[in-house]
Symmetry: C2
Subunit: 228 residues, 2 copies
DNA sequence: TAGTTGTGAGTAAGCACTCACCCACGCAGA
DNA sequence: TCTGCGTGGGTGAGTGCTTACTCACAACTA
């Protein structure tokens, strides 16, 4: 077993533990057990529990949130709808298909808000640089072509409001017994998209036409992350 | 010092500790210190750390979320707008004015989502019985009088979507250094209200007229809780 | 033989929780 | 009025166990 591979195995096991039980609730013993090694070996690879946790957060920060295909699109109403749809899809999927990796990211993200918020701040900054420009340009474009109403709000705030809605939705579905039941998952996705796009100022006609035409266009594509 | 008063003092101190550091991160020693008593006395009042935590959650569950005045209103567009406005106001205030008590509730609520979600489930159930009926009736009424579009979504889901948006917004402002900056607080309140009401299907004219007329009507009223 | 991967058996500190005991107060009996 | 004593709020100094972390040493490979 090479040192690098072992390190990755430990990081994976630790991520699962920290995401599930939080920093204080996780013991180095349990991480070692999850990685099927001795505690002593764990401390050969990481100088301390805190350093191990910090490394996990750093790795999560640097992870590619994907959606590269989307980022190369031209700003348009269709792009705005697709951005929203993919974000909603991503967060809905965290709970509905067994997406352990993404559930962990969400847990770490939420935990950070209860702590100093540093990790969350970094993730938000990353999402912002990757997606906000295209989102805002698309919204502007939608307004220009008459698909959306011009409203007084800061478009960046609107971007975050949409993100907030789906984040909490996903959060309510983290426990084994979800805190809320929204009914059918397909409906949920659609209802969320419509709610958010209406909130952004899109006209009902534009929403309906774009959601209908795109609803199954690239359903099989991989949606990796909006940052949590 | 009577036993009952001491018990309340311990509960208050413990609530602060648990909200700030989570269950695993809180030590009985630190709770005792926060309550300015010995650990031994703490265990005279509560049989275990777990029981103390359970009592805190029970107490928080039973707390009156207030807004009784609102619950007695007639269903109408105005009521819908006011419900939304007060909810938004409540969550904005958690961060903007030093509202330690409500910040603690939010922390406990969020923590529960990362755990088994039981506490969150109870709070959601309480919010639902208290506010959802009036919310839904008001939305129906708004549609009937032409203030809102009839949309396919389950109105209860819409209710939760609105709640989700402001919950995460408040969450981002829990850390000493907020994870996100939304600019001016007054604008934030207004932007959130408009975003949510548009999302519910209200027409811009109805939103504008109702938000403008009510914007400072009862600004001084106490907004206690939407449950988190 | 030298270096790397790996571990069992520790260590000191910290944890939830307990116990013997202090002290102030109320009150019955001499 | 004093004395003795029960009662309830309160604590210092523990208990055994768990924690993060260490170290001497084994096993394997180059």
């Amino acid at each position: 077993m090479t040192s690098d591979l072992r390190r990755q195995l430990i990081l994976g096991a630790a991520k699962r533990c920290f995401a599930r039980h939080g920093y204080a609730g996780t013991t180095t013993k349990s991480v070692a057990a999850a990685a099927a090694i001795s505690e002593a070996l764990l401390f050969k690879h990481f100088p301390s529990k805190a350093a191990l946790f910090a490394d996990i957060l750093t790795e999560e920060c640097e992870a590619d949130p994907g959606l590269a295909d989307l980022r190369e699109r031209e700003p348009s109403t269709a792009t705005l709808v697709e951005l929203t749809r993919r974000m909603v899809q991503h967060f809905v999927q965290i709970a509905s298909i067994p997406n352990e990796e993404e559930a962990q990211r969400l847990r770490l993200m939420v935990t950070s808000h209860l702590d100093d918020g540093e990790f969350a701040q970094l993730i938000y900054a990353k999402i912002k640089t990757l997606f906000a420009p295209l989102f805002i340009a698309s919204l502007e474009r939608a307004i220009a072509v008459g698909d959306a109403a011009r409203i007084g709000s800061d478009p960046l705030n609107l971007f975050w409001f949409a993100h907030h809605t789906v984040l909490t939705m996903a959060m309510t579905r983290l426990p084994a017994i979800p805190c809320l039941s929204y009914g059918n998952t397909n409906n949920l996705e659609r209802e969320l998209c419509e709610f958010l796009l209406r909130g952004l100022g899109l006209h009902d006609a534009a929403i309906a036409s774009h959601l209908d035409q795109e609803s199954s266009a690239d359903a099989g594509e991989k949606v990796i992350a909006e940052g949590a």
